[in-house]
Symmetry: C2
Subunit: 452 residues, 2 copies
């Protein structure tokens, strides 16, 4: 029997749900570099973004206020799954024989099965308030498209998702889930846009890419006054919305009188990691908490550990504003690893800035080590994790085993940002031994020229 | 905005988790008829069942004690997901425009995604305590195989699952999830058993059936002293274990000072329905609660509403003891509806007895009405339900719309026994308009002759 001093699940009442998002920019020793217009190389203003986003979100993108109130109507939808549980991993600890205390904050209880609805819901809400009738977006692994379709259903908005062709063909369940929530899914490249037709004219069998799918969704939004575009990671307002995760977690640790010594989370665009870490970073910056915060990325797409810190485009085609971030180059095509949510050439500019300030560290993990951790976790804790958070679990287990050597009773907090119910074919590949590790070995090329 | 007097989720602490299972047999006005040996037609004794089950479970099968203590080690695993949430369906109510108050008890938070682990865990525990090394079972839709594989992983038992060939080929995700938890899956019919080989000799391309898969799993258990067999529904001890659902629900309603006027749950073998309903039935029999309890079954497999109440075999091949139950005949082959968990020719003998006593009523629903309810539920409440509980949701929505006509503020409790993440192809068929309704039109034949 597993003996426990803390309960397995540390829960909050709905009345204890955070009522405002936290903006870490207000507490940083220096502000992040501005986003630049790709033509003028001058900082972009609100008007530059207005064709794609409602003004409320544009203002959140640039605000320096420490807190932003969460609208009541958004809180009302959050209540369907929030506050999410903080688990003590008693059974994993026992299996590892570690004196470390392992906690995981589980976002898989949401309608989409990940943290993505935390920002999809407010994005849909502010667009609805601005009179928008339809949202477009891209999706790769499918989590973001599912979250936005669910959010649009709550506010009576139409939702159109361009899903990367390869993923559209390989992950039919994600498409069905988006349709069940009322969304419309197009394989990308599609005949519906100039961007898509141009790609298909050159290669009718194109498997697509996230970059192409972004171009298609942005094109439709830019050309239709009643239509806006929504992005699921990278941007400041997305990370802002995700801070409900960390705020809840702080309240949950307070309930058991503990604080983490180490936080590990996976990073693709950075929203799950930032959402958990930023409220803890506030406590660290204020001297109220001594905590190490560690980003874990795939060895095949290591933007923080092997990228350069430079201005680059957010998409492959080079249509977006220029953002200063850790990047592998916007023309870098990541290997087809199973953690689709981590296949992005760049890192959130805000998170990149924080990394440059030395406030977080970063490591990279290979696929097989990650899936080994995922299977170990499933068999002890009962949750099959999405491929993305297995990266955090691998780093967590590594640290817990190190504590076994040293005898340290470290408190480790892991971001378990989603379940893997719709990613099971990746587990099959791991269990059959056909999963291949890809190491990054490219050089960063093709960066746009920006004067210092 | 949705205005609410109750919170969206009514939660219990782990300290409020029930510590004993409730045995409804103790409170019924008459005992259920005995189970008979198919050869002697005499009531079966514990020794007849000993080759397949550990004595603790055999004693639970026949006990007349009102309560059975839940072992601490089982409680410890239950804590991974229990107590499960009771939801108030504010957003569904608003979409329907009903004055009814709709609640749903959600079992999809478990490791397998359904109520099945509530009994898989104690079954694995008692077998481990009895020195058993391996459990065998059959699985159709895959929920039960997943639950047993998870439970066996908790106690270090091997788990072998015979999955109906058609389901094995059509639902690869279920097989992968079982393997991720460490289970071994065989398509049934298999070359591993005499029963399987006999079927394959006649038809090498046999799609299999639940009856054949049961025969294979039972054969392996009966022939190996270190191996037992586990069943996921129908039997008394299975329904006993599931009563944690209803006991939690009673405590949750007490927190908000309400009680249900109507309980609706889907019935296949009866374990989800019995688990929720029996504790409420205790309150009703004691005169402490006035509640209507309604079973909802598929129109294509309507054992309660169109079957006969008679002694019949539990499996298609006629190998099991004879049980008095509502049956469509053990040779009845249900149409291939998507709610695989409801495709069973008979109903739990205990639930059948209770139905005969007039303590519950029953209705049948067609597939399309059920999926329409499931999609409506997903778009408002954010959870994509498994095909099985969409039957309960269809009956719930029907009642809520009737309340809209009459103005009644009925409190309706729905058993939402699992999510549909691994059943999304059924939603695709519904959304594409290719789902076909099957009505039952057979006559019950082939019942064994048992003197009155």
């Amino acid at each position: 029997m597993v003996t426990m001093s803390e309960p397995t699940k540390i829960l909050l009442d709905e009345s204890e749900m955070p009522r405002r998002w936290y903006n870490v920019v207000a507490d940083l020793p220096s502000p992040p570099p501005p986003v630049l217009h790709p033509g003028t190389l001058q900082p972009v203003g609100p008007d530059d973004l207005a064709p794609l986003f409602p003004m409320d979100l544009i203002l959140q993108e640039v605000t320096t206020d420490r807190y932003v109130d969460i609208p009541e109507d958004v809180l009302d939808v959050y209540r369907l799954w929030r506050p999410s549980p903080l688990y003590r991993a008693h059974r994993l600890e026992k299996a590892l024989g570690t004196p470390a205390k392992i906690f995981y904050k589980y976002e898989g209880v949401s309608p989409a099965g990940s943290h993505k609805p935390n920002t999809a819901v407010p994005q849909a809400y502010y667009n609805k308030e601005a009179g928008v009738r339809r949202l477009t977006t891209e999706t790769g692994a499918g989590q973001w498209g599912t979250a936005l379709a669910f959010a649009c259903a709550q506010y009576g908005l139409d939702c159109e998702v361009w899903q990367v062709r390869a993923s559209y063909d390989q992950k039919p369940y994600r498409k069905i889930m988006i349709e069940t929530f009322g969304g419309v899914v197009h394989p990308s490249p599609s005949e519906l846009t100039a961007a898509g037709r141009a790609v298909l004219a050159k290669d009718p069998d194109s498997p697509g890419s996230l970059g192409i799918a972004i171009s298609e969704a942005v094109e439709v939004a830019a050309q239709n006054p009643d239509t806006n575009y929504a992005l699921g990671s990278v941007l400041n307002h997305v990370l802002l919305h995700q801070t409900v995760i960390g705020e809840e977690c702080l309240a949950q640790f307070a309930k058991v009188g503990l604080a983490p010594d180490l936080i590990v989370g996976c990073t693709g665009g950075g929203s799950n990691f930032g959402g958990l870490a930023f409220p803890f970073l506030r406590e660290k910056l204020a001297g109220r908490m001594d905590v190490t915060i560690r980003a874990v990325e795939p060895a095949s797409c290591p933007s923080l550990t092997k990228g350069v810190y430079a201005y680059d485009f957010g998409d492959t085609a080079g249509m977006t504003p220029l953002m200063k971030m850790h990047t592998l180059g916007h023309d870098f095509i990541p290997d087809p690893i199973h953690a689709g949510g981590l296949r992005y050439h760049g890192m959130s500019p805000l998170l990149s800035h924080i990394y440059e300030l030395g406030l977080i560290d970063a490591v990279a993990k290979t696929q097989r080590e990650c899936f080994e951790a995922g299977v170990r976790f499933a068999r002890t804790e009962g949750i099959v994790p999405a491929p993305e958070p297995t990266h955090a679990l691998a780093a967590c287990i590594e640290e817990a085993l190190s504590c076994k050597e040293t005898g340290e009773q470290k408190v480790i907090l892991t971001a378990l940002c989603g379940h893997g119910h719709l990613d099971l074919t990746a587990y099959a590949a791991y269990l059959e031994g056909t999963l291949v590790d890809h190491e990054y070995s490219a050089e960063v090329t093709g960066l746009p020229k920006v004067p210092a």
